[in-house]
Amino acid sequence: MSENLLEIKNLEKHFNLKKSIFSKTRVVRAVDDVTFSIPKNTTYAVVGESGSGKTTLGRTILKLIEPTGGQAIIRGVNIFDLNNKDFMEYRRKMQVVFQDPYNSLHPKKLVKTIIGEGMKIHFKGIGEEEIRNRIKEVLEHVGLREEHMFRYPHEFSGGQRQRIAFARAIVLNPEFIVLDEPTSALDVSVQAMVLKMLKETKRDENLTYLFITHDLSVVDYLADYVAVLYLGEIVEKGKKDDVFTKPAHPYTELLLNSNPIPNPFLKRDKIIAKGEIPSPINPPSGCRFHTRCRYAQEKCKLEEPVEREIRKGHIVKCHFPLI
């Protein structure tokens, strides 16, 4: 097994909700005791529905929001322990691309400024000439042209904007990029282009991705590893091929089955989930999925399941995994 670039251990992000001075503070356990490791040069996907905490997870790892507990270890260093000054170097190495390309680019700045700004901060004393050459290089890499440097974000389509956002991320030679639903705002024909670009750049630049999404078919295309998140907890994780072909958690089975297939000749029996996704403010007791699980038994209501390894690297948190 290859070396891990990033190890997340018992990561926790709890938000306090204060209703009024008289009521007790309630806690949203947005990310709860999450542990996983991302091997170098791989794509690790985190999938989940709304409220699963997938976006919070990505942002916490980048320290865009402060974690309430746990560790994120890169080469033996827990980056959560670093002060802002020491963390600077990691900021450069860890970049992010957000979901909405219409809101993540400054509307009044030229593409050149948007992409070049980070370089001025991280590579002190770099010359204008050098900056421009590097911008030109990354623009071409993401399938845009040199002259696009002198345009504003509104002059681009959604797919092109997402390329600019990606250019901004790779211009600093990062090692790790968090992709937070990078294609969900795009049409399929454009999505295909962006996905291919992501795959190729990863290979060419030796990148490692944390890919956050709700779309399982995109995960299948891009990811090597996958973790399934439900109400802040990882319920199943492992190699993508293992998890997708031999799902062991009933929730993973349900997600895979709910994903509509663009092929009318593949008929399958639909599993219809019971009820709605519960609120993460007051998650169900025992196994958090028991309220919607079709295999749930008494034990699931009472006892929280422990993680178990059902095959090498394939871990599931369920009392009665589907084996």
């Binding site: 049409d187 295909a192 994903n259 509509p260 092929n263 639909k270």
Partner: protein
């Protein structure tokens, strides 16, 4: 052309423009399709292809600055575009009803759910709203909601899935001949989407309503609809049964779309369609797809292809095909 090809709905030569400060957007440019009673048609296409405009034009709901320039929408034996407003009102929300993508913003935020459904039923049955609460409760139970609880709830108290169930109850309350569903599950999580599609499937099967489903998701349409219309830049590109369309896509755009959709278990590499969707203020001449088409020919730039039947019940607007189904 007044040819009637479907016994429920027959749309031909539909042309819609929007007057904007940038110029005239030629949103629909000769859209053609038809539906039979009880059929489920999926209209697919990318952002800006005119699928939502089409669904609104069918109800004659194009508002300023838009205008329907041309075409006919035959609903059974009436041309909706030629009827008086008072006559259309009898059809809208009665014989044709609609559900939308954002259920919460289509519900009235200051009225409770019970009132809103009772209001629809009152209109349909020509009775007072008060007398319709019993029927309202039945509708709510039908869509899988606890009527006692939900009746007095306001839209902001509903989850996305519940709100869409309420919309379905309102849409089906008049037992319409045609239900137009505009991206009904796009705002929902996949497990909730599966619930809603299952519910819709069950109910329209039971009541025999025809459904026109607007969607950008090939998977949803493949699973729900028995006919598909592919639209591109304001044109009907291809129209066929779901099986035929997936078995043998004819239009290069349809082929491209199917190759671009990621699918679990798919092993071949994704293929994107080159270029971008054209600006409809200044659409490409001839076939609007010619600039992105891998099989473009000289004629494509000059002439708009007509919508022809290439195989039985398989229609396509592309110069590659002659009337006999042969490639030129």
């Amino acid at each position: 052309m007044m040819e009637k090809r479907g016994n429920l709905l027959s749309v031909s030569d539909l042309e819609v423009v929007f007057y904007t400060y940038r110029g005239v957007i030629q949103a629909l440019n000769g859209v053609e399709f038809w539906m039979n009673k009880g059929e489920r048609l999926g209209i697919v296409g990318e952002t800006g292809c005119g699928k939502s405009v089409t669904s609104r034009a069918v109800m004659n709901l194009i508002e300023e600055p838009g205008k329907i320039l041309n075409g006919s929408v035959m609903f059974e034996d009436r041309d909706i575009l030629k009827l008086k407003e008072s006559e259309i009102r009898k059809i809208r929300g009665n014989e044709i009803s609609m559900i939308f993508q954002e259920p919460k913003s289509s519900l009235n935020p200051v009225m409770n759910v019970g009132f809103q459904i009772a209001e629809v039923l009152g209109k349909v049955n020509n009775k007072s709203i008060k007398s319709q609460y019993k029927a309202t409760a039945e509708m709510l139970e039908l869509v899988g909601l606890d009527s006692e609880r939900v009746m007095t709830m306001y839209p902001h108290e509903l989850s996305g899935g519940m709100a869409q169930r309420v919309m379905i109850a309102m849409g089906l309350a008049p037992n319409p001949k045609l239900l137009i569903a505009d991206e009904p599950t796009s705002a929902l999580d996949v497990t909730i989407q599966a619930q809603i599609l299952e519910l819709l499937d069950e109910l329209v099967e039971k009541f025999g309503n025809a459904v026109m489903m607007i969607s950008h998701d090939m998977g949803v349409v493949a699973e729900f609809c028995n006919k598909i219309l592919v639209m591109y830049a304001g044109n009907s590109a291809e129209y066929a049964s779901t099986e035929d369309l997936f078995r043998k896509p004819l239009h290069p755009y349809t082929t491209g779309l199917l190759k671009a959709v990621p699918q679990i278990g798919r092993t071949d590499e994704l293929k994107a369609i080159t270029g971008t969707v054209p600006d409809l203020v200044d659409p490409p001449s001839g076939c609007r797809f010619h600039k992105r088409c891998p099989e473009t020919m000289a004629i494509c730039k000059k002439e708009r292809p007509s919508f022809i039947e290439v195989e039985e019940d398989h229609f396509v607007a592309c110069h590659l095909y002659n009337k006999g189904g042969e490639k030129k």
